[in-house]
Amino acid sequence: MDLPQNVPPVVPTETDVVIIGAGPVGLFAVFELGLLDIKCHLIDILDKIGGQCAELYPEKPIYDIPGLPVVTGQELTDRLLEQIKPFNPTFHLNERVDELTKQADGRFVLKTDVGREFLCKVVVIGAGGGSFTPKRPPLEGIEAYEGSSVHYSVRRMDDFRGKDVLIVGGGDSALDWTLSLQPIAQSLTLLHRRDDFRAAPHSVEKMRELVAAGQMRLMIGQMTSMDGCEGKLEGVTIKTKEGEERIAINAVLPFFGLTMKLGPIANWGLNLEENLIPVDTEKFETSERGIFAIGDINTYPGKLKLILSGFHEAALMAQQAHRYIYPDKKLLFQYTTSSSNLQKKLGVK
């Protein structure tokens, strides 16, 4: 029998707490846990820190953060990062937590989609509206081609070598991949609904040069249907101002932004109510001891999906997490203003 080769053994990363989701609430949890000497790793499927604030509205103003009359989504993220810096959390981005199980010794094992494992005493789910996932164009039968011909990201450029590639969208992802894949694709078509692009001007300019040189095609229109055979895409029909046109295509990369889907959390055996995790309002703990849920992902009577509420939840959660992680230590209530002990942790003393 052949044994698999070159598969490194998985050594789990051990830590006190794993926080699932690096949104504003997960970030503030690092602060509250840090004050209690608890170390955190954060995992997020996004390629950036900040959850909804950074992904959906980085430049839009928020007016209801106490003490900050106006702050943009990105500024709030940056401020939180500055605030938690003394606690030196470890971030794992572009990674989705797929599995969460409890060991016999009461600790938790988390597995991510890239095969990494974590072993921790407490899990904090700060997953907001769920994992950010690419929006799927609502075309009939598109599911059949997903994974084989329709891709929402480029894992390996070589998969597109020699293919008739269609890239759809007008932002940076669409334009960047157009420029990267054009040299290796058999043919490349960029499709966008208007002749105006959100992407960086210099990449738009480069794309237009390629079009002018006859090395790729730009179409202004929208996809209306796909055709193919046995999961293999053969063509895409595109509606333009001039009418409908079918082009021969065997690889499509649609870039229509991201949306939030609950995702793997549904499979962890936790109680769920309409895709939210019910918690108590004393510790914000789930039906499973040692697993907490804070921020947009949880529900309880009177819940408001506000960043402010998530911050409060993080503070109370941390108290209970401390009891699990340091069962023998007594918690002394302290203010950051007056406690030299807390100030030392914050690096200000």
Binding site: L56, Y57, K60, P138, G169, G171, R194, R198, F256, T259
Partner: protein, 106 residues
């Protein structure tokens, strides 16, 4: 007050009383008009409040701003008459407005 008519893809329609100052998305959500999802709550950040403004109302309801055009890139089956419901403010002038709900939001 203004009356707004929402037409569904199957042709059924619903007339809703709107208050000046509300957005078309808010009017639809308050009246539970199907097909308007508005995931981002009106922040022009999700494009799931996409509507088509009926003939004859396009001048009065105005053209999308640049931010709205950018967001429309994330909607499905975008047409000349496409708008985001959260970006149309109800005015006295829009009394009688007719909008069509698309067959699919993304």
């Amino acid at each position: 007050m203004a009356k707004i008519t929402f037409i569904q893809p199957d042709g059924t329609s619903q007339i809703v009383e709107a208050t000046v100052g509300q957005t078309v998305m808010e009017v639809a959500k308050l009246a539970n008009v199907p097909g308007i999802e508005a995931e981002c709550g009106g922040a022009c950040a999700c494009a799931t409040c996409h509507v088509y403004v009926a003939e004859g109302w396009r001048d009065k309801s105005g053209a999308p701003s640049e931010m709205e055009e950018d967001m429309l890139d994330f909607a499905f089956d975008v047409r000349e008459e496409s708008r985001l419901g959260c970006q149309i403010k109800v005015t006295e002038d829009l009394d009688g407005l007719v909008v069509q709900v698309p067959a699919k939001q993304f």
